[in-house]
Structures are given as structure tokens and as C-alpha cells.
């Protein structure tokens, strides 16, 4: 829909807004959420005949109903946030890293390999140290390969990272068969269930606390790195314009390699936390699509790690709430996904109306 500059004015056209004051921006977001809840309520009543208020209460209880549910919510937030933090520097550099899924798998696979192969032969503290190094290295290498090709020969990083996901998935599938217990099960099961070798320590009696603390530290670290360091500045310059970056003497190739190394390494940590910290197993689906959800998280938060806490919270809350709805009301879980879809649609839409303005031909009517 190219808008030719003809005499006939189009029905409406879109123009970029100047930055809105914060209260207007948040007003639009608030309105979007209220609108989304109304549409969800209508959809709920029409499709299932359930009481929408009851559905919302159930969603809320699904996320916060018991202390266990709150811990699970925090754990889900932590892992998703970790992957989102990982993709953020690359995206800020306009490097479309869609390979977080594969990088998490690579990190997880390295962790699992250490746990299985070294489980009985080295002391636990040493094993955990090896796991940390191995997982970070594996994730970093998985991120570095497409970055290297991009920097050297300007290959398309979107396709490259995407395809690296499939390679990682197949590698995991292969090693699952190698290590499966019992033979033919197609599952590794819980690794070292009796000896707990290589399991990350449980602190304060809470299984998920360590993950949450590590990711909290990562969030602050990533915020400082992007906002206040020379590296962070270089990343934004390369993201804004590669030519400018070259002009001011930034070695773009070096920045690309360094940033993807970091991106992959943080994904590797996510793999470590999943395999060593909570699941203690490896499957091809252990990343669970977080590598792609992270793309949305990062964009919605405009690459600000602190805002990303909010967006991951929103997505994890919706996810947990949706699963509770299907359990309590006996609805197909797709129904929860429909509600999540409606809410996300409005929230993403509100970002559009914050950045852009609609002008109609006849009058100055606005939509918000």
C-alpha cells in the first residue's frame, strides 16, 4: 500500500508522533488492556458461556493462588527473561538473532553431557564449575558461528540463526538416543536422580530461588552493560547505522562477533539453569519456544532490560493463567491461548498508536 503523492488524498494516512508524555503513553496502554479485557469477556461469554469475571479471577489464581504457583511464575519469568536478555544486545545492534532456541539447547546439551559423562568421576563442586564453563562456551559458539559468517561474508543472519536451531535440535535428538534410559524409551529421564551429581545447589530450601537470583543479577548486569559501557554504546551506534559506526572508527565486525558471543553465552546460561537447575534432563523441546517469545519480550520492552521484567511478567502471567482456566473450567487449552492472543494483540497494537498517529481525510478524528 504505497501512498503516492497524488492530488486525491487517501482515506487516512499514518504519521509518526512526536514522543508522547509518559502519562499519555501509559494512558493508551491502560486503555488497550481494558479494551482487551472487554473483548476477552465477550469472547468468553459467546464461545463458552462461562462467567468472564470468574475466568479472570481464575487466571489470577492460576498465577498467584498458592506460594508454589508464585514460585513457578517467578521461575518461568526468570528463564524467559534470561533468554530475552540474551537476544537483546544482538537486536539492539539490528542483528536478527532468531537462534536463541538453538543456543539454549546447545548450552543445555553441554550441561547434560557433563552431568552424564562426569557425574561419578569428579567432585560435585568441580562438576558444576565444568558445567558452567561448558554451557557458556557451547551457547557462545552456537551464537558465534552465524556472527562469523555475517561479519566475514555478510550472510543473512536471520536464516542462518534460524537454521542453527534445527541443527541444535537434531544434535539433541541424537544424544537423547545415545543416552536414553531405558533403551528405546527416547527419553533420558532425570539425570543422576539418586546421586544428584551436577544439580545446582538449592538455596533457602526453594528449588527456583537460585535461578531467580542469577537472572536478577544478569538483568542488572545487562542493563549496565547496554546503558553505561563503551561496548553498549558501540552496539547502539552499529544498530543505528553501520556506516556511521565505520565512519567514527568502530570496528563493526568486531562488535558483531563480540555481541553475538555474549548473546550466545547468556543463552548458554539459560540452558544451564534449565538442565542443571530445574529439569535435570534434556529434551529437544526444553527451550519450549522461549527463543522466539524472547523476540517479542525484547521488542515490547524496547530493549530495556528493566522493562523486560514487566513484559516477561505479563507473558508468563498470561501463560499460567491460561493453563489454570483450562484445568478449572475443563476447557481445551486452546481457549486460554485465544485469550492470550487477544490481550497481546491489543498490547502490541497500543505500541503502534503510541508511536504513530492516524489522520483521516475528512476530519481530525483520532483513534487511541
Amino acid at each position: 500500500m504505497p501512498m503516492n503523492k497524488q492530488q486525491q488524498a487517501p482515506l487516512f494516512h499514518i504519521s509518526k508522533r512526536k514522543a508522547l508524555p509518559w502519562y499519555q503513553a501509559w494512558g493508551i496502554r491502560g486503555a488497550a488492556i481494558i479494551l482487551a479485557l472487554v473483548v476477552c469477556a465477550v469472547a468468553t461469554t459467546l464461545m463458552t458461556g462461562e462467567d468472564p469475571i470468574q475466568v479472570y479471577i481464575t487466571m489470577f489464581e492460576g498465577a498467584f493462588g498458592t506460594s508454589r504457583k508464585i514460585w513457578i511464575l517467578c521461575q518461568n519469568i526468570a528463564i524467559l527473561l534470561c533468554v530475552s536478555l540474551a537476544v537483546t544486545p544482538a537486536f539492539k545492534m539490528r542483528f536478527w538473532n532468531l537462534g536463541a532456541e538453538g543456543q539454549v539447547l546447545a548450552g543445555g546439551l553441554a550441561t547434560a553431557a557433563c552431568m552424564i559423562l562426569l557425574g561419578d568421576s569428579v567432585p560435585n563442586w568441580l562438576l558444576i564449575c565444568i558445567m558452567i564453563v561448558a554451557s557458556i562456551a557451547a551457547g557462545a559458539i552456537w551464537g558465534l558461528i552465524p556472527a562469523f559468517f555475517k561479519a566475514k561474508w555478510n550472510t543473512n543472519e536471520t536464516l542462518f540463526t534460524l537454521m542453527m536451531n534445527y541443527v541444535a535440535t537434531q544434535l539433541v535428538a541424537f544424544f537423547v538416543i545415545v543416552w536414553e534410559v531405558p533403551k528405546g524409551a527416547g527419553k533420558i529421564g532425570i539425570i543422576n536422580q539418586s546421586s544428584e551429581a551436577g544439580w545446582l545447589p538449592v538455596i533457602g530450601g526453594q528449588k527456583y530461588l537460585l535461578n531467580i537470583l542469577i537472572v536478577a543479577a544478569l538483568t542488572i548486569g545487562m542493563y549496565v552493560y547496554l546503558q553505561y559501557t563503551k561496548h553498549g554504546y558501540e552496539i547502539s551506534v552499529v544498530g543505528e547505522s553501520e556506516r556511521t559506526a565505520r565512519y567514527v572508527g568502530i570496528k563493526v565486525e568486531k562488535v558483531i562477533l563480540r555481541t553475538m558471543l555474549l548473546s550466545g553465552a547468556v543463552c548458554g546460561i539459560a540452558g544451564l539453569l534449565l538442565v542443571g537447575g530445574t529439569d535435570h534432563t534434556i529434551t529437544t523441546t526444553i527451550a519450549g519456544g522461549r527463543g522466539f517469545t524472547a523476540v517479542m519480550v525484547a521488542w515490547l520492552a524496547k530493549f530495556n532490560p528493566i522493562f523486560m521484567v514487566l513484559t516477561t511478567f505479563l507473558l508468563s502471567f498470561l501463560d499460567r493463567g491460561a493453563s489454570e482456566i483450562s484445568t478449572i473450567f475443563g476447557l481445551n487449552s486452546s481457549f486460554g491461548d485465544i485469550l492470550t492472543g487477544i490481550i497481546l494483540f491489543f498490547i502490541i497494537g497500543s505500541e503502534f498508536f503510541i508511536s504513530y498517529k492516524l489522520h483521516f481525510r475528512t476530519s481530525g478524528k483520532k483513534e487511541g
Binding site: 531405558p182 533403551k183 527416547g186 529421564g189 478449572i328 473450567f329 481445551n332 497481546l344
Partner: protein
């Protein structure tokens, strides 16, 4: 900024599409019609010890963990059985809590713990890969009973509240095999091929005990009425791969197989048979609607008797067996109606006769006088019953003249490669 916008719109569309796709396939969600009014999520009452003299019926809650939802035939079979057990025992809808789409990972542990928090006295999981996580949860909630279908570890784990269950589906497959053998005899008599050419084909999922036990019992059933029969087996490497199953069946038919059966969950093999006009013995339920001319009979597992058993145990304060194997006698192994249009005359009567012999113990499926391995009769076989990483054979399975399948644990462990069956490939 355009890129951002494009990406966001694309994402929004993906979500919207995914949501739409979901509604179309939503067929008959088992409990959508009657709304569950109260949400029992927050109360989380203390779970009472079920062992101490049982509990009142109205206090009992049962949690179910399903790998997928009703769109999967595998999980639908469990869902239907759970609904049937609920109705048969007279429980209300909010006493049976279903968690669908629970992956075989930490989510299973979380789901089990949440169900325990909600006050469930029994928690059941339906997929093999759930087992480790159920055990983890069972250790944390000693007062809650954890029951798991198809698993192998209950008898070695030493937990009072973790139990495995399966069914002696090999008996059902043996009966289905008898129907197959009769059909072959009929075709030989009609002069369609000679007795030496009587070859069956079998599409299996994976080359391991559950499937080996299944196709061997099917073959022995056929051989018991048609002594010259042989069989080719091909594997797909997946429990559900419609294309691969269909191709497998077509390959077998092209290789001269006169009758096809399968152990995988899609309609691939049955539809291939219907198109080629080759008789088919099905699994998991009747395929007569799609294959009216070639469907003979089908065996399947009915889980309702187990659900009723575990619930009654808890109600009466009795211990649930570590391994429970449903049989024809318990109603766990069932055969569909025989399709008279495709089956040989007298099939139903013969099945009834063989079934009676199986039930009174005069006939054993894996009778060592009926098969040989590498040309020799078996009088001893150490099976891998206790799960370990190295598949160490640990239990003598042959005694009293037959292989004792599903007796030392509920999940199958018969993995002998007997003569007369040719494996075209292997898939783990």
C-alpha cells in the same frame, strides 16, 4: 521502525492464527458443557493420609496429567476412561481435575505438585516420560498416591505411594492375530495365493519391547490357526506419523504381504489398506468408518477398570499394587466388534473360544512350544525387567513352559526375535 512494525504485526498474526487453529480442531471437549462453578484452587486443604482406613467419597479428589489433549487419540483414550470411571463411581465433575498438554519435563513435576496442593488424593499421569517427574513429586507428597501408566520403575523404586499400571495387550493382539490367521486361511482356500505365500505385514513404531511383544503375540495368534504364515515388520520411528505409517503399509503390500496390522497411533496403515483392498487388523479402536471393506477387528486398552481400581483402593484404605496389569478378565483388554464384511466366517466364535482358553489359563500366548529363536526352542530367557542404564538382563522370564509377560512388572518386556518374523529395518 518499519521493520519493528512489520515484525510486531507478523507476531500478532501468528498469535491470532494459532488461536484460530485451536478452535477449529476443538471437537468434543469432555467436560465443556456443564460449567464447574467453584474454583477450588485457593483452598488447598491439607491432604489426609489415604492409608488410614480410607476416606469419604465426597472428600476424594483425583488429578489427571495428560501429555496432550483430546485431539490426540492416545490421550483421548485416557480422558474417555476417566470420564467413564467418574460417571460409573458417581463422582462430581469438580472431584476429577484434568491437566492437559503437560510436557515430559519439570512441568509434569510442577503440575503434580499443584494438583497435590489442590487436595488431590490420587494423581495419575498417562505418558511414559512423565515417570521420573512423578517419582520426584511422590517423594515430596508421601500422603498422596501417584499412579503412572506404562512406566517401569515402581517395583524397584521402593516408594509406597508410586504405582505403575499397564494392560496385557499382548492377549488382545493374540486374539486379533487369530482373526488375521482365519482371514488368511479363507483367502488360501479361495485360491488367491498358496499357503506358502501367506505373509502378513506389520507397521510398528519403535523396535522395543512394547512393540516386539505386540507384533510377536499377533503373529503367534495368526500362526495358531494358519501354521505356514510368516510376517514382515517395518518401523516408523514415531508413535504418530501418518505419512510414514502409510508408506510403511504400502511398502509391505508391495512386498507381497496379504494382510496388514500396525502398532502406531495414526490412520496411515488402515487407509493404505483400504485403498489397496488389503485386509487390516487395527489397533486403538475401530476404523470401520474409514475402512468398511478391509477392517477386520481391533484391540485396545480400556483404562477405566484401573481408574476404578485405584480409586476404590483409596476409598477403602487399601494399598494400590506397585504394578497392576489389566487383563481380558478385568475388562482392560478389549476387542471391537468383528467386521463381518471383511472377516472370515466364524471369526467371532473362534475369538470367543480362544479368549475363554486364555482366561482359564489353559492357553498361554508365549507358549515356548509354539515358537523358536534361531531354530531352537527356548527354555530359559533372562529379561530386562528392572530398569537400568545398561539394560542388564535380571529376571528369568520362562518357566512352566511359557514366557511370563507382564507378570514381573506391568510394562511389557518380551523382546525375543522369533523365527518366522523378518524385521525389514530397526528404529529406536
Amino acid at each position: 521502525m518499519k521493520k519493528i512494525l512489520a515484525l510486531m504485526l507478523a507476531l500478532a498474526m501468528v498469535f491470532a492464527l494459532a488461536a484460530c487453529g485451536g478452535t477449529e480442531t476443538e471437537t468434543q471437549a469432555p467436560s465443556t458443557d456443564a460449567p464447574a462453578t467453584e474454583a477450588p484452587a485457593t483452598e488447598a486443604p491439607e491432604t489426609e493420609a489415604p492409608a488410614a482406613g480410607g476416606i469419604a467419597k465426597e472428600d476424594l479428589k483425583v488429578g489427571f496429567i495428560f501429555l496432550h489433549d483430546e485431539n490426540s487419540t492416545y490421550d483421548l483414550n485416557f480422558l474417555n476412561a476417566a470420564n467413564a470411571a467418574r460417571d460409573a463411581l458417581g463422582f462430581t465433575e469438580d472431584q476429577f481435575i484434568y491437566r492437559t498438554n503437560v510436557p515430559e519435563g519439570q512441568e509434569c513435576y510442577d503440575a503434580a505438585c499443584e494438583l497435590a496442593d489442590m487436595g488431590c488424593n490420587i494423581i495419575f499421569a498417562d505418558s511414559f516420560g512423565h515417570e521420573d517427574f512423578m517419582i520426584q513429586a511422590a517423594k515430596e507428597f508421601p500422603d498422596v498416591e501417584f499412579c503412572h501408566a506404562t512406566g517401569t520403575r515402581a517395583h524397584t523404586e521402593g516408594l509406597d505411594n508410586f504405582h505403575n499400571a499397564f494392560a496385557s495387550i499382548y492377549e488382545g493382539r493374540y486374539l486379533a492375530g487369530v482373526a488375521a490367521g482365519l482371514k488368511l486361511n479363507e483367502m488360501i482356500e479361495a485360491g488367491e495365493f498358496t499357503a506358502d505365500e501367506a505373509k502378513m505385514g506389520y507397521v510398528g513404531a519403535f523396535t522395543y519391547a512394547e512393540v516386539i511383544s505386540g507384533y510377536t503375540s499377533f503373529y503367534l495368534g495368526a500362526k495358531s490357526v494358519c501354521p505356514t504364515v510368516t510376517m514382515d515388520v517395518t518401523f516408523t520411528g514415531s508413535w504418530y506419523d501418518e505419512t510414514a505409517e502409510k508408506e510403511g503399509a504400502n511398502k509391505l503390500i508391495a512386498n507381497g504381504c496379504k494382510l496388514i496390522s500396525q502398532h502406531a497411533d495414526s490412520m496411515g496403515a488402515p487407509t493404505a489398506c483400504e485403498e489397496a483392498g488389503v485386509p487390516n487388523v487395527s489397533y486403538n479402536g475401530s476404523t470401520i468408518a474409514a475402512c468398511p471393506n478391509t477392517f477386520i477387528v481391533s484391540s485396545s486398552i480400556n483404562w477405566e477398570p484401573y481408574f476404578e481400581y485405584m480409586i476404590n483402593c483409596v476409598l477403602n484404605g487399601e494399598a494400590i499394587a506397585a504394578d497392576w496389569t489389566g487383563t481380558i478378565a478385568t475388562g482392560s483388554v478389549v476387542l471391537t466388534e468383528v467386521n463381518e464384511a471383511a472377516a472370515a466366517a466364524g471369526t467371532a466364535d473362534k475369538i470367543a473360544e480362544v479368549q475363554a482358553a486364555l482366561e482359564d489359563g489353559s492357553l498361554h500366548v508365549f507358549d515356548v512350544t509354539t515358537f523358536t529363536v534361531d531354530g531352537a526352542a527356548m527354555d530359559s530367557y533372562m529379561a530386562d525387567v528392572d530398569t537400568d542404564a545398561d539394560y542388564t538382563p535380571d529376571t528369568e522370564a520362562i518357566s512352566d513352559g511359557y514366557f511370563h509377560e507382564s507378570e514381573y512388572r506391568s510394562a511389557p518386556y518380551f523382546d525375543l526375535r522369533i523365527d518366522g518374523i523378518t524385521l525389514l529395518d530397526e528404529m529406536f
